[in-house]
Every structure is written in structure tokens, then in C-alpha cells.
């Protein structure tokens, strides 16, 4: 019980420290989340699962620098060939349509790099490529709903395209729609002295 009270006090302290919530002004805020996520690979016609995390730094009321990571989780041994690992990280810019308010719809351009491995068949033998880097093009749309100065609900869709070619007999397309939703958090970045950006 004591622990819970301490945690609650800490949360309230943080709330008071960063008193200017993201609802009033986006600039100078940081927003993030960590979650599990799903994806759908169009060419392979199959689902994919990820552990994901992202972070947005609002450098303007409308603009945020963004970065996100997707760590792929194997979905059983059902698929012996095709994509075996598909870890990805992206960086780019998001444009937030509304400069204040609880609702925060946005879209962004987020190119990235994939670390991909695929299984393939040579005769009866199944082989697997080493994990190799693959350039990826990607775009994002999403929406946040800020429920206070710390927490937010979010929903994000990310379209990704790319191709793996590493010893596989045929190029492995990585055309995919990823989706994630849940509870994120945000806080005001303490202002740096003489900072031009924040």
C-alpha cells in the first residue's frame, strides 16, 4: 500500500512539474509509447506480430521529429519459408494537423531500414538467409487523444514497402500495413537556456 501511495505521489509531482500540457501547446513536448502490434504482409497474405515503440519530439506546434522501432515476433513454425525475421526502425517527420486540443490527427513520411531474414527451399532442403539490411519506404497516419498532461490514447497505421534479395531464389517483397493502438505517455521537455528550437 505504501508503494502505491509513493508511486501516486511521484505521478502527481511530475504532473505539477510539467504544468503546461500538450493540449494547450504541442511545441516542446515529447510523446511516446511501447506496445505489441500487428501487421499484414500483402504479398504473403499473412499476419505478422511485433513489439514496437516510438517517440515524437514536437519541434513546432504542427511538426514532430519521429522515430519508431518494430521488433518482429515469430508466429509459430507454420511458415518454414518466407520472412523469418523482420525487425525495422524508421525515422522521419510527422505533420500534426491541429496545433492544440485533445485530438491530434497526423500524417508523416518515415523511411527506414529493415533487418530481414528469409527461409527458402532448395530441393527438399530448407535454408535461411543471414539477417541483412534492407532499405524501406514508409508513410504513417494516426491520431492521439490526450487525456491529461501525461497520458494519451493513440492509434497508428503505417504502410511499408521494400524488397529483400539475399541468396533467395526470388525477391521477397516486404509490402506491409502495420497497426498499433493503446496507451502512450507524454511530457513537456524542460526548456534549455538560450535554446532556439524549444
Amino acid at each position: 500500500m505504501k508503494k502505491i501511495i509513493v508511486i501516486l505521489c511521484c505521478v502527481l509531482c511530475v504532473e505539477n512539474t510539467f504544468s503546461q500540457p500538450i493540449v494547450k501547446e504541442r511545441k516542446g513536448n515529447f510523446r511516446s509509447h511501447g506496445n505489441i502490434a500487428g501487421g499484414y504482409l500483402f504479398q504473403q497474405k499473412r499476419a505478422a506480430a511485433y513489439i514496437t515503440g516510438d517517440g515524437d519530439i514536437f519541434i513546432d506546434n504542427h511538426v514532430a521529429l519521429t522515430g519508431n522501432l518494430w521488433f518482429s515476433v515469430p508466429l509459430g513454425k507454420k511458415y518454414e519459408t518466407g520472412i523469418k525475421a523482420n525487425h525495422q526502425f524508421f525515422g522521419g517527420v510527422n505533420y500534426h494537423i491541429l496545433k492544440q486540443g485533445r485530438w491530434d490527427p497526423y500524417f508523416g513520411l518515415t523511411p527506414g531500414i529493415g533487418l530481414v531474414s528469409a527461409g527458402y527451399k532448395i530441393g527438399e532442403e530448407i535454408r535461411r538467409t543471414k539477417i541483412s539490411p534492407v532499405p524501406l519506404a514508409s508513410a504513417t497516419i494516426g491520431c492521439n487523444y490526450y487525456i491529461g498532461s501525461i497520458f494519451n490514447f493513440y492509434m497508428k497505421l503505417q504502410g511499408v514497402t521494400g524488397q529483400l534479395l539475399k541468396d533467395v531464389p526470388q525477391a521477397v517483397p516486404l509490402h506491409e500495413l502495420k497497426m498499433t493502438a493503446g496507451l502512450g505517455w507524454n511530457f513537456k521537455i524542460p526548456k534549455m537556456p538560450n535554446s532556439k528550437w524549444m
Partner: protein
């Protein structure tokens, strides 16, 4: 006949007042133009940073094997009507599901704004551009043990596009440009039986591709203060 010697001198003297008047008119027009745009913040010294996605629709003279690419760029703007873009990207082409081609580019372009940007308060700022890049092309036939063949070359590109200024500091840019590779050529050929092989030519001539690029850029800071 001697008086003909004086003819050019007389002509020059007659032309001088006309020239002076033309110069004056030009200066007046320039002043009027400057006064018209004086209310907008000078854009010289802007440093922008951004990301890009590229679609290559046209490859070596044929509509085939479209490629998709990604990369990043920064811009340094010297004056209101002129900007420079410095970029790096990679474009990949799936060649009939039998081979893969990667084009890596690193280069720069000079952009001229067809309309005065008015401090990028216009929604659209159209421009034309021309530039140069270095590129590395790697082609690899699918399958185990096939080594990629690569070549370095230089390229020139020109085209046009428009900024879509969502805010004065942030823009989406849509542009189209033709890129000509100058130097050694590497490409694939398909045999009648469907098998594929890579061919290289030394200084074989010009080859190129038509690129459509969508980019997003944010003006981060000013590198210098422009003159008022």
C-alpha cells in the same frame, strides 16, 4: 569619307541617354519589386532537414521495372528565389522477379522559385531545378552464390516541382526529374529460355530514369542573417 570615322562616336553618344534611361527604369522596377516583398521575412540562410520517398517509373528508355526508394536531404537557401538541396537516397528495382538492382545516389540540386516565395506563406511554391550526383549501381541475379556486379558513375538531373507549404517552416514537396547517368553501363538481358544475365559496357553512353519524389522538410534554423 573622313567624317565617317565620327559615325560610331556619334551613335554611341546618341545611345547613351537611352541606355541610362533603360538602366534607371530597371533600377526603379527592382526597387518597386523589393518594396512589394519587403513585408515578408527574408529567406536567405535557411537550413532545412527532411526525408524523401522516390518512385522511379522509367528505366533506360523503357517503361519497365518501376523502382521505389527512400532517403534524406537538407537544404541551404542562399537568397529568396534560390535554394540548394543536398540529398542521399537509394532506389531498388525488382527486375522481372529474376534480379534486383540498387541505385545509390548522393548529390545536389539548385532550385529556382518561379514565384516569389513570400516567406513561404503561399500554399504552393513551384520551382525548377538542375543538379548533379554521384551514383553506385549494383545488380544481382537472384539465387545463392551470385555475386553482384556494380559500377560507379556520375549523373546529372533536371526537373521541376512544387513545395506545398503546410506552415511557413514545414513543407511537403512533390517533384519530377529526369536523371541521366553518364559513364559505364550495367544492365540485365533476358535470354529466350527466360534465363537472365548481367551485361556491362564501358562508357556505353547515356542512360537514365524518370523520378518522382515526395519529401517532407522542416526549416530548423538560419545559418546566417540575410541583409535587409
Amino acid at each position: 569619307m573622313k567624317h565617317l570615322i565620327w559615325l560610331p562616336v556619334l551613335l554611341c553618344m546618341a545611345a547613351t541617354p537611352a541606355q541610362l534611361s533603360a538602366q534607371q527604369k530597371f533600377k526603379e522596377r527592382q526597387k518597386a519589386r523589393e518594396a512589394k516583398f519587403a513585408q515578408y521575412e527574408k529567406q536567405g540562410g535557411n537550413f532545412s532537414l527532411g526525408v524523401r520517398s522516390t518512385l522511379s517509373t522509367f528505366d533506360h528508355g523503357q517503361w519497365r521495372n518501376p523502382g521505389i526508394g527512400m532517403g534524406g536531404q537538407f537544404r541551404i537557401q542562399p537568397v529568396d528565389r534560390i535554394n540548394t538541396e543536398w540529398y542521399a537516397d537509394v532506389i531498388w528495382h525488382n527486375i522481372n522477379n529474376k534480379a534486383l538492382r540498387y541505385d545509390y545516389h548522393i548529390g545536389w540540386s539548385v532550385m529556382y522559385y518561379l514565384l516569389h516565395p513570400k516567406g513561404f506563406t503561399r500554399l504552393f511554391t513551384p520551382y525548377i531545378e538542375a543538379g548533379h550526383c554521384f551514383d553506385l549501381t549494383r545488380v544481382k541475379i537472384n539465387g545463392e552464390g551470385n555475386k553482384p556486379i556494380q559500377r560507379w558513375s556520375s549523373a546529372v538531373q533536371m526537373g521541376g516541382g512544387t513545395h506545398i507549404n503546410l506552415t511557413p517552416k514545414f513543407d511537403l514537396t512533390l517533384k519530377c526529374q529526369y536523371m541521366l547517368h553518364l559513364g559505364n553501363e550495367v544492365h540485365t538481358h533476358e535470354n529466350e529460355d527466360g534465363s537472365i544475365y548481367i551485361e556491362t559496357h564501358k562508357n556505353a553512353g547515356w542512360e537514365g530514369h524518370l523520378l518522382f519524389t515526395l519529401s517532407a522538410s522542416y526549416k530548423l534554423f538560419k545559418l546566417w542573417k540575410p541583409k535587409k
